[in-house]
């Protein structure tokens, strides 16, 4: 999938995405305006520079996230400082800390309440894979069991600089997403449900 390239992925690499070129050709063939590409760039620039996180933290990683918001590692210079409390108003949820069995339905409900376009970052060892508590009887081993994750940030807890790296990767991912026509963003959600049909359920 190219995961091994994440460490050295540069912004220019995303431009050589054949999939995007093919899609633009398809759109042109069906008569859609090629200006659509420019609209997407504008929207993507807007979104990636004002991603508002949901105030959500279960354990220790949340304190490092608070340091991220404080004066030294200022996340306001990226545009992220408006941490919303209501999921309806947030853009992404950064899952900080362990998700346990009792919290799983709540987490799922919060994710489904987020308005599109939404993203999920699994921050910290516990959210990535269960972390130090992997063998416990009531810990969900990795939040990707219940949510589709965009970026994984390992660490226990990850340093604020590591969190910034993860957030910047999310920004890069956003800059190649499409809004008009075949959004590869939507495809990811459908892919997830195709692989986990049991997750497509009613809330509550």
């Amino acid at each position: 999938m190219g995961i091994d390239k994440i460490k050295s992925m540069k912004r220019e690499d995303f431009k050589d995405n054949e999939y995007i070129d093919k899609l633009v050709d398809e759109l042109n063939a069906t008569g859609a305006n090629v200006v659509v590409g420019k609209m997407d760039e504008l929207i993507n620039w807007g979104i990636s520079n004002s991603l508002w996180p949901l105030c959500f933290g279960t354990s220790c990683c949340a304190i490092e996230f608070m340091s991220l918001g404080a004066a030294r590692y200022d996340m306001a210079r990226f545009g992220f400082e408006v941490a919303r409390n209501s999921p309806r108003q947030a853009d992404y949820v950064m899952v900080q800390g362990t998700i346990v069995h009792r919290m799983a339905p709540v987490m799922r409900r919060l994710y489904e309440q987020l308005a599109e376009p939404k993203y999920v970052i699994a921050c910290g060892g516990c959210a990535v894979s269960g972390g130090p508590f992997k063998n416990s009887y009531c810990v969900v081993p990795g939040v990707d069991q219940i949510l589709p994750v965009d970026v994984y940030i390992p660490g226990c807890p990850p340093r604020p600089e590591a969190m910034f790296y993860g957030l910047m990767q999310l920004q890069r991912k956003i800059k190649v997403q499409k809004f008009f026509g075949g959004a590869n963003r939507k495809e990811k959600i459908e892919e997830f449900f195709a692989e986990h049909p049991e997750e497509r359920g009613e809330i509550g």
Binding site: I63, M66, P87, R102, M103, S136, G201
Partner: protein, 543 residues
């Protein structure tokens, strides 16, 4: 101690005694409640603090070990062991009417072991989902993931509870009770909410804006740490302590290391003791600064948050240079500390001590003297000293109610006996006192650091520890003063290299037990204030 034996022997002739780290009294279940009543009410005994309630599964029997201390006498700790009569249908009489702290503690024991407490007013599970199958800490627990899969449906809100009472024939029967009546207006707060303390859920029944009753629904970060420790060796269980109350990481780990070292009979080198003390105090400063920032932020004064974090980053820099990490330091180990001090440590700590007094003045100017802050904190969440003792509220919250409960003064450990510092006691009994106790404790911590920073003795940083750590058979209990109160560790060992049972007695668990008492009669906005001033950290409650 022999007086206690005599007095208890008279009250309950069937009790047996065992000397060890502290006096252990074993009573049969039928005589437990009368003995408990005497322990509390007999003026010659006066054990008014229930420090710990530890559920235990001894393979043939199942029961509870209670730890008591007294505020008026200096008896030291008294342990009482009560075994239920049958394993599969275990009943023990509840003592939650004598020591109110036992309310949530016994719910936890029921949740983890399946022991039902007779006459407990609200016998429900505490940490696990109410449709969970089984009781995890029992040795015969079936850990099959098919029985308890990751359910994505919400659990049904519990409005029905039950009480187990003894009927006229002496049989135990179950009687239903209601948590909330049908016509009560119940508001759900959490688990995801703007306050910064973590995932805690409260269900509050309101009368207009006045809170009538608060039901605490916990367990949204219950990770089963105590069960995990049973499969790991002693050096491996140390890392859990940093992740429970992460704002007292050093103190918690210090406590666990001290308990293991006590059991092994290890002597810790002087340098390691002093380093541990200094790290504890630095951790206390960082925790109280965060608490200051978050209390202000919860009340809406977001600016104070940035001020608090500015100094906290300085403390975290000191940690990072020596311990290698900003949080989850993993610094204390069995026998001492893992790495020696960074060459800049003394210089950095001196710089911190120098600037701290003016910064504290700045905080007081920005927040403490503010008219709005005073109006929101003064007189809110009253907790009298008797209630603080009965609910075992230690730490700054207890000292804000004038209860002198500082472990560093009562049972000095590490280098605390060699330094002079004041125990801050304020008698306002409200949220403002609790907040001010924390601010003054920062000054005292700086004072301790000042006395130690120039006199760090040379020497080893770690005692010789055997490669495979095996504790002798027995039970040990150790307490330290964590940032939020008295943190206790209970280890029971059968001589193996993995513990038989480890129990962490966390201060925040008691703090959340007092939410119902302190919030009733105040407005709903005050609930957040009271929670912020009590300053609990949720993973510490849920472990």
């Amino acid at each position: 101690m022999s007086d206690i034996k005599e007095i208890i022997g008279k009250i309950c002739p069937e009790a047996t005694f065992e000397e060890g780290e502290c006096l252990l009294v074993s009573v049969p279940e039928k005589k437990w409640y009368p003995l408990a009543k005497s322990l509390k009410e007999n003026k010659d005994l006066d054990f008014d603090v229930l420090s710990a309630v530890v559920g235990m599964d001894w393979k043939e029997t199942i029961g509870v070990v209670y730890y008591f201390t007294s505020t008026s006498r200096n008896w030291g700790m008294l342990a009482v062991k009560v075994e239920a009569e049958s394993r599969d249908d275990a009943y023990i009489h509840s003592v939650s009417d004598l020591w109110k702290v036992a309310n949530f503690q016994e719910r936890e024991v029921y949740d983890m072991f399946g022991i039902k407490f007779v006459n407990h007013p609200d016998m429900r599970r505490f940490f696990l989902r109410n449709d969970w199958v089984g009781h995890p800490l029992r040795k015969d627990y079936d850990a099959n993931p098919e029985l308890n899969p990751i359910r994505l449906e919400d659990e049904v809100n519990e409005d029905d509870s039950r009480v187990f009472v003894e009927n006229a024939e002496g049989k135990i029967v179950e009687e239903p009770r209601k948590v909330f009546e049908k016509d009560e207006y119940v508001v759900n707060i959490g688990p995801q909410h703007p306050s910064t303390h973590g995932v805690m859920r409260f269900r509050a029944s309101l009368d207009g804006e006045i809170v009538k009753k608060v039901d605490v629904v916990s367990g949204y970060i219950h990770r089963g740490i105590e069960k995990l420790t049973e499969g790991m060796t002693y050096p491996q269980i140390l890392h859990f302590t940093d992740r429970m109350d992460y704002m007292s990481a050093h103190q918690n780990r210090h406590c666990l290391c001290m308990c293991i070292e006590k059991a092994l009979g290890l002597e810790i080198p002087k340098r390691a003791q002093v380093i541990r003390t200094m790290m504890d105090e630095l951790m206390r400063i960082s925790s109280h600064l965060l608490s200051f920032g978050c209390t202000a932020m919860d009340l809406g004064a977001t600016t104070a948050f940035f001020y608090g974090f500015r100094e906290r980053e300085m403390v975290l820099d000191i940690f990072e240079k020596t311990c290698g990490a900003r949080m989850s330091m993993n610094y204390n180990v069995i026998g001492g500390v893992i790495a020696d001090l960074h060459p800049d440590f003394v210089k950095d700590v001196k710089h911190l001590i120098e600037i701290m007094p003016e910064r504290l003045k700045e905080y007081h100017k920005v927040f403490s003297g503010n008219l709005i802050a005073k109006n929101r904190l003064k007189g809110v969440g009253m907790l009298s000293k008797e209630d603080a003792v009965n609910y075992a509220i230690t730490g700054p919250s207890g000292r804000g109610s004038n209860w002198s409960c500082d472990c560093r003064k009562k049972h000095p450990y590490a280098a605390y006996s060699e330094v002079e510092f004041d125990e801050i006691l304020l008698d306002g009994c409200d949220s403002y006192s609790r907040y001010m106790v924390r601010m003054k404790e920062i000054e005292q911590s700086c004072r301790i650091l000042e006395q130690l920073v120039d006199r760090i003795p040379e020497g080893e940083i770690r005692a010789q520890v055997p490669k495979i750590v095996k504790l002798p058979a027995g039970r040990w209990y150790q307490q330290v003063e964590a940032s939020r109160g008295t943190f206790g560790v209970y280890i029971e060992s059968t001589g193996e290299k993995t513990p038989y049972r480890v129990h962490f007695q966390s201060p925040c668990f008691n703090l959340v037990g007092v939410m119902d008492l302190t919030c009733s009669g105040y407005m709903i906005a005050d609930l957040i204030t009271i929670g912020a001033a009590l300053d609990f950290v949720i993973p510490d409650i849920d472990r």
